[in-house]
């Protein structure tokens, strides 16, 4: 099986390049902002779901058997 190694240095270089591209390219910045908005909405939905699951589990425990 082919193996591709991605080093910590390469990750740091990629994140630096991304930051530079965000400053340089307004189209890329717009795309990334939109992507982040979708992700934040998904994260918020997930947080709500986890909270509801916790509450439901706590209620179930409180119920007399």
């Amino acid at each position: 099986m082919a193996i591709i190694r991605v080093t910590k240095k390469q990750i740091e270089a990629a994140n630096k390049a991304r930051e530079a591209a965000l400053k340089k390219d307004p189209d890329f910045r717009l795309h990334e902002e939109q992507r982040q908005r979708f992700e934040e909405a998904a994260r918020a939905r997930e947080a709500t779901l986890q909270k509801e699951l916790k509450t439901a589990a706590a209620r179930k425990e409180e119920q007399p058997s």
Binding site: Q10, A14, A17, D27, E39
Partner: protein, 163 residues
């Protein structure tokens, strides 16, 4: 023998992962192909939980896909993760890229990019079905881009193992 269970598996039907530790992984897809016939039609691909890529619509392998203007013209999968909740001195991510190649006459081709550089020009060989990425650090979020650069092939998914 026991097998290590994947921390997450992202597929066409299940492209997101999140957990209570605030870890996330997402699979984005920008451009895939459909034929009217099985197994490359929409219904068959949905049933088999795969994407199909056609060689005739492959991205130009000579372009530099760290440039946004080139990336917008490409067909690619983007894998983004934020697994900082798992980050630690020795923590790594083993990522399996799953695929099938349609015929032995035309191997697939995928360019693996970060935002900074081409990491690997990977050939997808008929009969093979996966390759491995060893990602050394989970200290920050990170994106990988898999550019469709040739061949007729199916994408099956990404399985991540935090180790």
């Amino acid at each position: 023998m026991s097998c290590l269970e994947a921390t997450f598996t992202l597929t066409p039907q299940s492209p997101t992962y999140s957990d209570a530790l605030n870890n996330y992984a997402f699979l984005y897809t920008f451009g895939v192909d459909f034929f009217p016939f099985s197994p490359e039609d929409f219904s068959s691909l949905y049933a088999s939980n795969r994407f199909f890529f056609d060689a005739n619509f492959a991205s130009d392998p000579t372009l530099d896909y760290t440039q946004w203007a080139n990336l917008t013209k490409a067909r690619y999968l983007q894998f983004y993760y934020d697994l900082v909740g798992y980050a630690g001195a020795q923590t790594q991510l083993a990522l399996i890229f799953g695929f099938d190649v349609l015929s032995s006459s035309t191997p697939g081709r995928v360019l693996v990019y970060s935002n900074a550089a081409l990491l690997k020009d990977q050939q997808l060989v008929y009969g093979d079905n996966q390759f491995l990425l060893e990602i050394e650090s989970l200290d920050s979020s990170f994106s990988l881009y898999f550019i469709h650069a040739g061949g007729f092939w199916f994408f099956r998914g990404l399985s991540g193992y935090v180790v």
